[in-house]
């Protein structure tokens, strides 16, 4: 967003947490909740619900936006007994995953649980993704064409 000021370090940390929670599997989230001593009391504020987000592309790759098509998204907002509010949104139709994500997002904002969420969930998910992307990149790189010149001449 053009009008947004430079994000603060805390906003960047919060965005990283939200982004990684979105990419965690439901099993990873459920395991973490257990480890943290859950289940936790969480009152729903919105959802969990599944809806659509219209994906936009750009004409020519960098021009004006156009609508490419929609993608399913599930989201949830909850309030813990402590009053902390958590939000989560993720691709797909797994509403339960969105709810667990919202609880973890709320717990991440609380000093007592943030560190263990960082070390037990966010860092491992980040590593898992980096590894998968590394493999994908290396597999693609192996299909790179290395041209070599057979003959070059004017005749």
């Amino acid at each position: 967003m053009a009008e947004t000021a430079t994000p603060t370090p805390e906003t960047l940390r919060a965005k990283r947490a939200s982004d990684l929670i979105a990419r965690a599997t439901r099993a990873e989230l459920a395991t973490l909740i257990d480890t943290l001593g859950g289940p936790f009391e969480a009152r729903p504020l919105r959802g969990p619900e599944t809806g659509l987000v219209m994906v936009r592309g750009r004409i020519g790759g960098g021009g004006a936006p156009f609508n490419l098509g929609e993608v399913t998204v599930s989201r949830a907002s909850v309030r813990l007994a402590s009053g902390t509010v958590g939000h989560a949104q993720t691709l797909g139709t797994d509403r339960q995953k969105a709810r667990l994500g919202a609880i973890i997002h709320a717990l991440w904002q609380e000093a007592a649980t943030r560190d263990s969420i960082e070390t037990r969930l966010l860092t491992p998910v980040e590593q898992r993704i980096a590894e998968a992307r590394g493999h994908a990149r290396a597999q693609t790189a192996a299909t790179r064409v290395d041209f070599f010149t057979m003959v070059r001449g004017e005749d």
Binding site: Q89, R137, A142
Partner: protein, 370 residues
């Protein structure tokens, strides 16, 4: 006249039961799972998602199974499902420049920055049926090659450095984003809406139209500037958080077609572009889309509109296969009363025809007799 009739409930219920039976097929074989479809028939899933205009692998695989592999039926199912969901918002425009690339080729430059990356392509296969697939033997993993990541520049940027190619279209940042799922189609249609229609259009229809431009019906002298396939990030503004959240990645295919343009009184000769962007891995569709996108820009470039692929009303009104199948297939539904009316009409016209012929014959005879 209107006649209401009832009946057929048992026939319909039994037909559905028979459909379920045939869909399951031989019970001694294991049922196909959605996971198997997603993993092993991935391109079918991609096509269903692209033409349903809804990206969700699990639902697309379910639709594909439910439709017994009938693509358009599966697309129809997914389109119907999408109408039941609320829309949460629109994403930030995806950045195909930041794609995690799985394939990238250019037919215009051999040694372009970022190189030619073949990826998982059917190209260079011999198109010989492979009986080893019948045996479900072990399959090697893809080879890996470690190298320092290199920026994968767009071909359009290379040509743009010399001013030899047009930019990314003429629409401004605020002019795009029209949505034909919300507003009825009106012609002429701006390019953002045309691209939305083409992105969800039928692959076969667009392929045939793209082919027709190559055979001379609206020729545009195309070169494949670049095709890239890979994953891009989906990001959406979350007002309740105060920042944009990245929801995950989707796979898309992008095609930049480079076309010759002889120039006009105002514009020097340069290359123009057609653009294709499709959900999933489908370069045939992305290429066809970019050919048709360029053909549909005929008016913009002052070109004569002489071919079907250049006629936006023709192309955009007929490229949606769910609409098309709805109208074609409705013909099999009861038209008993309409047909009775037509039958009455034809009988009356025949009677009039006979009467006229008898009259003219008798007058001919009369003239002959005179």
């Amino acid at each position: 006249m209107y006649v209401a009739v009832k009946g057929g409930e048992t026939a319909i219920a039994n037909a559905h039961r028979l459909l379920a039976d045939r869909r399951r097929g031989d019970r001694s074989l294991p049922a196909v799972s959605s996971e198997q479809v997603i993993e092993q028939l991935a391109l079918a899933v991609d096509r269903v998602m692209a033409e349903a205009s809804l990206y969700d692998r699990d639902l697309a695989a379910l639709a594909f199974r439910q439709a017994r592999g009938d693509m358009i039926e599966a697309i129809f199912l997914l389109r119907a499902y999408r109408t039941t969901l609320p829309r949460f918002g629109v994403s930030s425009p995806i950045d195909t420049g930041a794609m995690l690339i799985e394939r990238r080729v250019s037919a215009t430059y051999k040694d372009l920055p970022g190189g030619q990356l073949l990826g998982p392509t059917f190209d260079y296969t011999h198109r010989l049926l492979d009986p080893t697939l019948l045996e479900d033997g072990p399959v090697e993993e893809g080879a890996e090659r470690t190298e320092t990541p290199e920026a994968v520049m767009r071909v359009s940027e290379i040509l743009a450095q010399e001013g030899l190619i047009e930019g990314d279209g003429t629409l401004g940042e605020d002019e795009g984003g029209g949505d034909l799922t919300r507003e009825p189609m009106e012609f002429p249609m701006s390019r953002d809406l045309r691209l939305q229609a083409l992105a969800r259009g039928d692959e076969g229809f667009l392929l045939a139209l793209g082919y027709s431009t190559q055979r001379g019906y609206g020729r545009t002298h195309p070169f494949t500037g670049e095709i890239r396939i890979g994953e891009v990030e989906i990001e959406i503004d979350a007002p309740e958080l105060g920042y944009a959240v990245s929801l995950g990645e989707i796979r898309v295919t992008e095609c930049q077609m480079v076309n010759q343009f002889k120039g006009s009184a105002k514009v020097p000769p340069q290359f123009t572009r057609g653009y294709g962007l499709v959900f999933g891995q489908s370069e045939r569709k992305a290429m066809s889309m970019s050919l048709v996108d360029r053909a549909l820009r005929a008016r913009e470039f002052g070109e004569d509109i002489v071919a079907p692929a250049q006629d936006e009303e023709f192309v955009l009104s007929h490229c949606d296969n769910v609409q098309a199948t709805g109208f074609v297939e409705h013909l099999k539904l009861p038209h008993y009363v309409d047909f009775q009316a037509e039958l009455g009409l034809v009988r009356r016209m025949r009677a009039e025809f006979e009467a006229a012929r008898t009259a003219s014959e008798s007058s001919d005879r009369k003239e002959a007799a005179e």
